[in-house]
């Protein structure tokens, strides 16, 4: 409701103005048209692949969504992913669980560092995270001396990226779990409402007794955590952790969040939207790869879609003044 403010009275108009709905339509179209031209698209195996990849970028995107919702931005997602991966990687010797634990922990800590810088130093978040982005990236290399860490002997760790539970890839399960937990958090908890309010009007939120700093801190630590979670899913697919694993991930994450209808101004967007965004994003790339337009044309169309979709969103919810 909050996200798209359907008025009970003009529900019809509402649904058409609903980002999630539009995204859903797009998704359906890509699916249908795609599977007409590229038969292999509809195969179970392929769809599972799409889901798996969507879950990875989607996880990071959920974190980005959180930060965007409170009216800030996080450019350090990629570097957080790399750094938390390698710090965790140092522990694989002691088994997968400690490694994963350390990874998540690092992610949260780094997120908190961002949050503290943004809230306490009151610096523009784009700047802060631009800075931490390169700091974390540098540290990631220092930690492993630029080396890769192999995961061949960590079956549990690997199963994160490759395993199935009841025929569903593990990443998808993790993704959906996180997604559901967070969207419940956003819709049905105090913190959730406060996140939206903070994003929509920070000053008002503060005056209304919301501890906006705390809220932002929460958003950033969630972003850190999700980035850290996405890491192992990615690296376990290819059996190894590298200190540059997350390079460029932040931009895709933000792109997906925006694709999902999250506004950069804050206070607008849903996790569901982001999930759909991730699916659309990945499905489209998959269609392009399968239809063989070539890596570089994919990139072009990716950017093109991004621009078009934000324009469309802007057009549909132009505020009536």
């Amino acid at each position: 409701m909050i996200s798209n403010g359907l008025d009970d009275d003009n529900f019809k108009k509402g649904i058409l103005k609903n980002h999630t709905f539009i995204l859903f339509i797009i998704l359906a179209c890509v699916m249908i048209i795609g599977s007409i031209f590229v038969p292999s698209l509809a195969q179970k195996g392929n769809l599972l692949n799409v889901l798996r990849l969507a879950s990875i970028v989607g996880l990071a995107a959920i974190g980005a969504t959180m930060v965007l919702l409170v009216g800030e931005i996080d450019l350090s997602i990629g570097s957080i992913m790399s750094l938390s991966l390698v710090t965790g990687g140092l522990m694989v010797g002691y088994g997968s669980l400690p490694a994963l634990a350390v990874t998540c922990l690092t992610g949260i800590v780094l997120g908190i560092i961002n949050g503290v810088l943004v809230t306490k130093l009151k610096i523009n978040s784009l700047m802060v995270t631009l800075g931490t982005m390169s700091v974390f990236a540098g540290l990631a290399n220092v930690v492993t001396r630029g080396q890769s860490i192999f995961l061949y002997d960590s079956p549990l760790y690997l199963s994160l990226g490759r395993g199935y539970i009841a025929g569903i890839p593990v990443p998808v399960i993790i993704f959906l779990f996180v997604g559901i937990v967070l969207s419940i958090m956003l819709r049905y908890t105090k913190t959730g409402k406060e996140i939206y309010f903070t994003g929509a009007n920070k000053r008002a939120a503060w005056v209304s007794g919301i501890n906006t700093d705390k809220i932002k801190l929460i958003a950033y630590s969630i972003s850190g955590l999700t980035a850290a979670l996405a890491g192992p899913l990615l690296s376990s697919q290819t059996n190894r952790i590298t200190p540059i694993q997350g390079v460029g991930f932040e931009l895709s994450a933000i792109a997906v969040a925006v694709l999902g209808g999250t506004s950069l101004i804050g206070g607008k967007g849903t996790v569901i939207g982001t999930i759909l965004g991730a699916l659309t994003f990945q499905l489209l790339l998959n269609v392009l790869t399968l239809s063989g337009v070539g890596t570089y044309m994919e990139q072009v169309l990716k950017g093109f879609l991004l621009i078009v979709i934000v324009v469309v969103y802007q057009v549909i919810d132009k505020p009536r003044r």
Binding site: L121, L126, V128, F136, Q299, V300, G303, V310, Q314
Partner: protein, 339 residues
């Protein structure tokens, strides 16, 4: 931070103010001293020249970026533009000239002819794409971050498609070398070109209507509109100039390396933003001076140069750069609070 402490105890207001206002210059001087101490060759001709050329490349990007940030937008596409504009220009020039029978590309990837038209096309293409960014942003009223991010993807993809991944040699292109490496009174012409552009922009902003247009557009758009200023137009202009300066930067880059490659300038967009921030341009729009950005670009390049002279591993460089960005940003945050 000096400004901090002193503005609290009134005694040192004057020196504090002085430091605050000339922070960048002071840092620059400190760096120079540091450089001289740390490396005997720091002031050597070759070294100075390579610093100057880098400053020219990053400075140009930063100047463009600063203008965009002054109108309260941001441009992530400048990096990709540096690869795309020359590649597209050459592709177009090839099409155009082959019509008139002259082949400008030999041996599959040696550009041998058509320097002039290529240069013109580079400037044209970059300015146009920049303006296209602006037009989409103002007409559709969508956040520039996303539009230019999309453009970043589009352009870098296009660069590969257009060039087929080959990097092109300009070594056999008449005039390209002199464009790249001609030196006037010990100073690379490219740097002089950059200074000219920078000074021009500064003067235009200070002494013509344009300055007020830009600053008011970023500072309080509604006010600007109510005063009959076409803010959309000025935003488009800012993006156009940003694109154009990226184009010029691409020319300097390519003429220095006498080649055009698909990955040139990738990642420079973030550096240009960083420089603008260090130079005191804020994202709130309508604040900051171009001169700051220019000095900042020198600061950054000298810093990198010193670090490589003392032979520090790249890992630590990235960390240092990051810290500098955060430091600069927070410094401005504080000075804003105290003022």
């Amino acid at each position: 931070m000096a400004s901090e402490s002193s503005s609290i105890n009134g005694g040192f207001i004057v020196p504090a103010k002085f430091i605050k206002n000339n922070m960048l210059i002071i840092i620059l001087l400190l760096e120079l001293i540091m450089g001289v101490i740390l490396s005997p060759v720091f002031l050597g001709n070759t070294n100075v020249q390579s610093i100057l050329i880098n400053t020219a490349i990053f400075g140009l990007l930063a100047v463009g970026q600063s203008l965009v940030m002054l109108v309260k937008e941001i441009d992530l596409s400048v990096g990709a533009m540096m690869a795309f504009s020359p590649i597209a220009a050459i592709a177009l020039a090839k099409k155009i000239l082959s019509a008139s029978g002259t082949e400008i590309i030999m041996g599959s990837n040696y550009v041998v002819d058509g320097l002039f038209i290529i240069v013109v096309l580079v400037l044209l293409v970059s300015a146009l794409i920049g303006m296209l960014n602006g037009i989409i942003i103002v007409k559709a009223k969508v956040p520039s971050l996303i539009v230019t991010l999309g453009m970043l993807y589009v352009l870098s993809g296009m660069s590969y498609i257009l060039s087929g991944g080959y990097s092109l040699y300009l070594t056999n292109l008449k005039g390209a070398k002199s464009l790249g490496s001609s030196i006037f009174a010990g100073i690379p012409v490219n740097f002089i070109l950059f200074l000219a552009v920078g000074v021009l922009v500064i003067l235009v902003l200070k002494y013509t209507k344009v300055g007020n247009r830009i600053y008011s557009t970023g500072g309080n758009e509604k006010a600007a509109i109510y005063s009959g200023i076409n803010t959309d137009f000025w935003k488009v202009m800012a993006f156009g100039i940003s694109g154009l300066s990226a184009g010029i930067a691409a020319l300097i880059y390519s003429s220095r390396l006498q080649s055009v490659e698909t990955i040139q300038g990738s990642g420079y967009e973030l550096i240009s933003i960083a420089i603008a921030v260090i130079g005191g341009i804020t994202l709130e729009g309508g604040r900051g001076k171009i001169s700051g950005a220019i000095i900042a670009s020198a600061i950054l390049c000298i810093m990198l140069n010193i670090l490589s002279l003392v032979g520090l591993i790249a890992w630590y460089k990235t960390i240092i750069i990051g810290l500098i960005i955060i430091g600069a940003a927070s410094q401005h945050a504080f000075s804003r609070k105290t003022s």
